[in-house]
Amino acid sequence: MSESDTSAPEGRIAENIMYFARLLRAAGLAVGPGKVLDAISGVKIIGIGAQEDLYWCLFSQFVNRVDQRDIFDQAFQLFWRNPHIMEKMMGAMLPTIKVEAEAELEQMSRRLAEAIGSPEVDFKPESAPEKIEFDASFTYSSQEVLQETDFEAMSVEELAEAKRIIARLRLPIMDVPTRRFQRAGHGSSVDMRATLRAALRAADSIPLKFKKPKRRHPPLVILCDISGSMSRYSRMFLHFMHAITNDRDRVHAFVFATRLTNITRHLGYRDVDVALDNIAGAVNDWSGGTRIGSCLKDFNNNWSRRVLGQGAITLILSDGLDREATEGLSWQMERLTKSTRRLIWINPLLRYDGFEAKASGIRAMLPHVDDFRSSHNLNSLAELAIVLGHSGGSRSAFAH
């Protein structure tokens, strides 16, 4: 069957690639027209032959990140193994056939099904990873409360508070020297390029120009617990995270209860309501149980090497109450603390005077953090800003 597809005349192949690109685009891959042209010329170069070659030719053009592999694979199988799919796609542009198309395509990824069924061809290059995680949600236990949290319900007072936080918090995390230089009035090293230019202008001397290392904030990674026990605080924390994300670059934000979700891109919207709305849609375990251990493991294995580079600081916002008394928790914390410049734990429970680290989760986590702070109200959040101001410095192991 594949042969009959690919042995069609050249004009037909170009057309097919165009439709295929449209399918991928609808499924969330960033496939621009330039890429389509490249793909067509690529296919012309390798010639029309084995389907495997066609696969990798299109793969190299249309796939940008490894996590797009599965979507591409499914789309490819679907599109190039079934010659009628194109007609179906065209049919899907008409609302009447939409239902039929969706029913038939039950087996495949939801995103792809939506892409084919939907008359809209959206260009959403950034939404890939989150949506894939979303699919996995059905495999989890009933302990997870699948619930749409309504941010509309936020009281006026709360909103005002949140705005005050946003206004006040500018997170003065101390910056660290980088290995790049900027010009300076005086300094330890001579900027030869500038000096030479000045020498050409000056009459009979060589005026020395200096440079000094540029300073920059280290990246900040925030892991926020949104489980049931944290529900009173997590909303405030989300505002906090939104404020930080929009204040500085290189912030990565995650939320977790039973699963870890990267919400960095959702927080990127200037408007806090739009951002939180997006998060409510993307996150499925609001107020569920907590599985800190497995979420941290997910983070360590899948994210830490991608976001903890360049001396990042990690902030955990959690009460440390782990429903699943995981023995792996301590181990995961140790791994995390070893890969970050500094690990700060913000715990809202700390405000109780009688607070003791009795819960097994807390006992497992506590030995591995560099700083342990409370944050149950606005004042303590403001305090946090001050603490972070001193956190740019590093543990002795990282000193340089």
Binding site: Q61, V63, T178, Q310
Partner: protein, 309 residues
């Protein structure tokens, strides 16, 4: 030795094979396209799967010069692209002054001309080479920072470099560009868009065996089978850092140096450091876990032998 670019995917496979690089057809397809279309090849994958090696093999098999740029945090133009030769410029100015020739405008154009330029890898890669356009390897791009990545855009799309004082230097023939990333951070889409993307995966057992045989021709066959099966088994485990091909080769080599002809529990425990690079991973595998895996491997291989014999 092949000196012309491959004409088909099969040619590309042969070319890589000549350099002892056992490649998937998928990689060969992408590489062939990159060469044919004159696009940079963007290789992403875990550490130790042979990304850098591709560039080396390519330059060797094609007989081209290899220009390597190792990326690091803070990499800037003066170490990646060009630098002015300050001492020569200084002397030039002094000479001009001593000769009483102090027409400063002329002096400025004289001193900031290509003659006083020290070429760094990226600029070198654009220069004409008798053996043909060089292979430019931009290694571990994820280690550098975003500004440098943005700087690369001009080079990668038009193969040209703009130097404010001199103007634009354009490559006579576009170099073969290979970019690798370990994915310690995401590279911007704008850069990836200009490249052909390929994810280099861990090889399957069969291919890994071929690689071991190609790289370590003297190794005992039984040992290499066991080593590969063991490593393949390890990759199924839940480890922080899975062993790459480089580790497999190191380990196989280590075992050969110790005169092992077959795997046993003691040998594994003693040499696990060649394979796993995190203490937690080693602690987890060493001892009973390794012994269990070894039994599996042995059972699996004897099944295979029975089936084939």
């Amino acid at each position: 030795m092949t000196l012309s670019l491959p004409e088909s995917i099969e040619d590309t496979l042969v070319l890589l094979n000549q350099g002892d690089y056992i490649a998937d057809r998928s990689l060969a397809t992408t590489l062939f396209l990159a060469l044919k279309m004159g696009r940079p090849l963007f290789l992403e994958g875990e550490a130790g799967v042979g990304k850098t090696e591709i560039a080396k093999v390519l330059s060797h098999s094609l007989g081209r010069k290899l220009v390597r740029l190792q990326c690091y945090e803070g990499l800037d133009i003066s170490s990646a692209v060009y630098e002015w030769n300050y001492s020569r410029q200084m002397i030039e100015i002094r000479l001009a002054e001593a000769a009483g020739n102090i027409d400063r405008d002329n002096l400025s154009t004289d001193v900031f001309s290509e003659e006083f330029l020290i070429e760094r890898p990226l600029l070198q890669a654009l220069r004409k080479d008798d053996a043909g356009p060089p292979v430019l390897l931009i290694d571990e791009l994820d280690r550098t920072d975003e500004p440098f990545e943005a700087y690369l855009l001009e080079i990668l799309s038009d193969y040209q470099i703009s130097i404010p004082e001199v103007g634009t230097i354009k490559a006579a023939q576009s170099p073969i560009v290979i970019i690798t990333s370990n994915r310690t951070r995401e590279i911007h889409d704008a850069l990836k868009r200009r490249c052909l993307y390929h994810w280099v995966d861990y090889p399957n057992a069969e291919r890994e065996l071929e690689i071991v045989a190609a790289k370590l021709p003297d190794i005992n066959k039984r040992l290499s089978e066991q080593v590969v099966a063991f490593v393949q088994g390890l990759r199924e485990k839940d480890l922080f850092k899975l062993p790459g091909i480089a580790e497999t080769l190191d380990w196989a080599d280590a075992l050969t140096q110790l005169d092992q002809v077959a795997l046993d529990s003691d040998a594994i425990d003693n040499t696990l450091g060649a394979l796993l690079k995190y203490q937690d991973d080693i602690a987890r595998i060493r001892g009973s876990e390794a012994a269990k895996l070894l039994d599996q491997v042995k059972a699996q291989l004897s099944d295979l032998n029975v089936a084939s014999g």
